[in-house]
Amino acid sequence: MAHILLRHRDIPDIHRLEVYKKNGGFAAFKNAVTNMKPAEVTDVVKNSGLRGRGGAGFPTGLKWSFIDNKNWPHYVVANADESEPGTFKDREIMEGNPFQFLEGVAIASYAVSANVAYVYLRGEFWQLAEFLDEKIAEMEEAGYLGKNLFGTDYSLKLYTHLGAGAYICGEETALLESIEGKRGQPRVRPPFPPSYGLYGKPTIVNNVETLTNVPLILANGAEWYKNMGTPDSAGVKIFSLSGRVRKPGNYELPFGTTFRELIFTHGGGVQDSRKVKAIMPAGASSSLILVDDEKVLDTPMDYASVRTLGADLGSASVIVVDETVSMDWLVNKTVHFFRHESCGKCTPCREGTYWMSHLTERIHDGRATKADVDLLLIVAKQMQGKCLCALGEFSTMAVVTGIERFRNDFEKVVKA
């Protein structure tokens, strides 16, 4: 099947404006601005079943419909902070198929009547930001951005904004704080960004992959999109496959594709033909799926099915863990990450990740006792449901499921 998002893999040079245009580029945006009302655009996206690809899976059109029309101006922000360990899809989209992403930003902006949109990129994407700046300039030159677009009174400006190395800025309210020139710390919600966002104004924040779907949904219709994937999870998804597989990389597949197909057909199987021990379907924030039965691999990857395995699909950053990996090592790695990235605003996360990291280190170093394993589980569970944003919650997922599903790995490294 031809790609919908990673179209640069089928169409060479689609990162060049004339090539993108020749392949139907900007027709959807032009048609929206000249022939459709903003609310009609939102309805098409709503009916397509598109859900947010950043991890939360919130229905995109529904989010757009929440924009507060009594408070102006409106903003659209593309979340290109991509920082989840195991996720590397947005970068490939922006490098390979930048105009489809930017057209998605433009359509979203029109749908919520925003005249300014920002693309928030993680600071490490320095070269990519320069590249997108060039692409934005080309769009302005060609009349796809700027004042009075296509002879209407709709105007739109697009800007990039670079973060500076903080995982938490992927959280949408922390991201907005960061654009405002502050430390990236999440806000207390509600209010949510569609009513109180950037500079306190109604704002829609969407992930890069989510927005990149939009031009083709508009061009081909909601039904076309809905017919792909599963009833609960419409469309295609880019699965970032990493860890102990032969061919790691991004694979664009319909929702509902099985883990087996992803790992074995596309990923070439496990390195050295070892057995899959666990799967983390949502990067470092994942619960650890126990693969003790081959049948687990036949589970379809959609939001509902993955939940039956006691995990969330999230951003679909599938990290494959083989039988040679011990979970005490793995959990020490993930906890170290979250301890470093905790923003420090709320106590359960700041203190919880700190104490968890002491425990995981001690366990991994062989200095711990069985009671420390129990204590680690208690600390993690005490944090759950008490943190200001999802980061704190995420930091506990691998810990809790690691101990509960792979307890032997911990007990064999502790002192008797």
């Binding site: 360990p85 996720t87 993680r122 490490e124 800007y159 020139g181 990493s242 990450f337």
Partner: protein, 168 residues
């Protein structure tokens, strides 16, 4: 020389991206600009940025302290930032780091004797399929180096040394 006199065009361009009543938003891009040449932010540079966007020096310092890509201390000319997070570690990043340290004769966090390279372990760089991976942060911005080996890294270091001369 001050930022405004040295980079008037860049400062103006950065400020133009944000609503005039929210010029505080320009603080992050201005800090990158101020850090460009020395590789770290001097107190004077932070004071100037504070003045341009009309916030206190304390606010600027808080931002510099919060984000990992801003630095308030002079280190090597290039920061070599190797990802050692879980997905990279599953593909040999820890071993790569160990071998690199041995080759450079320094530990993680240290700088080579010639002042060219500071070696750092960092969090995920969104290139998990191309491990071992690191970025170099230096006078020419941030660059990715993917699917690296120690040999190729040593070649890169030699090239950086030849290109820029000895770094103080």
């Amino acid at each position: 020389m001050s930022l405004a006199t040295k980079y008037p065009k860049e400062v103006k361009q950065i400020l133009s991206k944000y609503p005039p009543e929210h010029k505080r938003s320009a603080v992050m891009p201005l800090l990158y600009l101020a850090q460009r040449e020395e590789g770290y932010l001097t107190k004077t540079a932070m004071q100037e940025v504070a003045k341009i966007v009309d916030i206190t020096e304390t606010d600027v310092a808080a931002i510099v302290g919060f984000y990992t890509l801003y630095h308030d201390k002079k280190e090597g000319k290039y920061r070599m930032q190797v990802c050692t997070d879980l997905p990279c570690a599953l593909r040999g990043a820890d071993q790569f780091m160990e071998n690199l340290c041995a080759n450079l004769g320094i530990k993680v966090g240290e700088t080579t004797e010639d002042g060219l390279i500071t070696l750092e372990a960092v969090m995920c760089l969104a290139a998990c399929d191309k491990a071992p991976v690191f970025q170099t942060q230096g006078p020419d911005g941030i660059k990715y180096h993917e699917n690296m080996t120690v040999d190729r890294t040593m070649e890169l270091i030699a090239a950086l040394k030849n290109a820029g001369g000895e770094a103080k």
